[in-house]
Symmetry: C2
Subunit: 316 residues, 2 copies
Amino acid sequence: MKSANKRVDPTEVRTIACVGTGVIGGGWVAHFLARGYRVVAWDPGHRAEASLRHFVDSAWPALRELGMADSASRDNLFFEPDLHEACAQADFVQESAPEVLSLKRTLLSDIDSATPDHVVISSSTSGYPMTDMQTECTRPERTVVGHPFNPVYLIPLVEVVGGARTDEDAVAWASEFYRHVGKSVITMQREVYGFVANRLQEAIWREALHMVAEGEATVEQVDLAITDGPGLRWPIFGPVMTIHLAGGQGGMAQYLDSFAATLQAPYTRMAAPELSAELRAILVRGAEDEAAGRSIDDLVEERDKRIIAVRRAVGR
Amino acid sequence: MKSANKRVDPTEVRTIACVGTGVIGGGWVAHFLARGYRVVAWDPGHRAEASLRHFVDSAWPALRELGMADSASRDNLFFEPDLHEACAQADFVQESAPEVLSLKRTLLSDIDSATPDHVVISSSTSGYPMTDMQTECTRPERTVVGHPFNPVYLIPLVEVVGGARTDEDAVAWASEFYRHVGKSVITMQREVYGFVANRLQEAIWREALHMVAEGEATVEQVDLAITDGPGLRWPIFGPVMTIHLAGGQGGMAQYLDSFAATLQAPYTRMAAPELSAELRAILVRGAEDEAAGRSIDDLVEERDKRIIAVRRAVGR
């Protein structure tokens, strides 16, 4: 906890080291630059600096349109050929190396030894638990996962979770920092393979693969089924609130009581969990909490207004 | 095929009978009225007419904003207490009764006997195969499923499929008719439980239920994971094109070759199918067909522009 006490406040971060500058790392660089940070980037790849600057230039118009910090400038990007030099100056490190466990382990250990003790180190990994990646770090207590979505500079979601040897304090600090830089943060209480969003996304992808493999739907039909169907609702209300609205005036409770049998039907290859009284209660209360006082009629009105706006946004 | 030859052209339909006027049936009524049709509605429920007119009034501003036919008018809605009278005048029948198989069977048989031979009868069912519903019809060859999404007047998707005794011709006619009234149509070659979109949607829902039941994520986190993550991309590109863009310049082929191992990882409760050479080829060709000549850079530019528009549309 000593090192934790020395941490700068998440709002006081000035310099960020971005280690690995492919599509994900480059996306972080663009996002942090747009938020006015000084970014020191490191990547051992051939022509990595030129690629990164090209990537940031491509993303810049979109970032400008979304609105950037007054101090935002591409001149705040410094490409540093030495990893230790890059990390030594950082108030925060974002690692976005290729998804190879042995490489991540070694790299995080190198970053760990080069980075001041009080600085939080976050990995963009989409799959590995930090417990498996922090094994060779001397100060693993400040290593966390901060998993973003592509394109990092446009999709707000970041999933934050620590490993077995991570301090809770580092997870809390990273969550607060990501919120401060404009991200939507899910702070997980424990490591789950694939985190949250990728598990949900992979479930759709696997069902789609089964359907295509069995000739039940074409590739084009799978995409149309989402883009012109539930995909138009999902930026507005997630799966839980969608069900809350599908239940009529009785919301989630009414839906669960009417459609419990659906969970036993072969509506997908995935078997459903038992709808226990406890799970039912969590879902009903969760939907009510998210509704936050809005009636079903209020939610329907909001949904309809926003579906029209989304349809216009995508030209359909 | 005799009755098929007598069918009016899909563009010549003037009067539609809507049987069952709950949330789905009412949504169809609103959609058809906005497209300028004369709608004859039937529903045996208590105060069904008042509820329906209230529902149509609520949907009307949204429909006006989306753009309606010059001839669109709520005065074209006629509530008919007699099912036979309603069906006798129809050029097309849309059935949206509660999801109870025995009820659907009897009702479709009644509709069948009341509706002129050449008229196509379509069921909104979200679950039952037409093969199981058309068993008591005298002329089952003109009965199809036309499964919409809620809210019917705003979400374009309709999935069309026939049963074992349905003429292909009726399926083709219904598909053409739905396209004519502004819907996005998936015409399925054979019956699959839950059709396409609900299978994909149910896969997400079941994975979410497992995560909530196991304490891996809260209800709020499940929703945020979608609304602030992949949900912002799905109105733009479906699951297949999302993967095509996740593969870098090599697109789908590069992704499948790099991430094949992901399919074996416990990224969701659902087991993946084998990624055979045949499935790989279908996916790669399908993604290229959908890209329709647009390079990865073109697609990325389009995605980014539209993600910004979607974020604005939903206020994030």
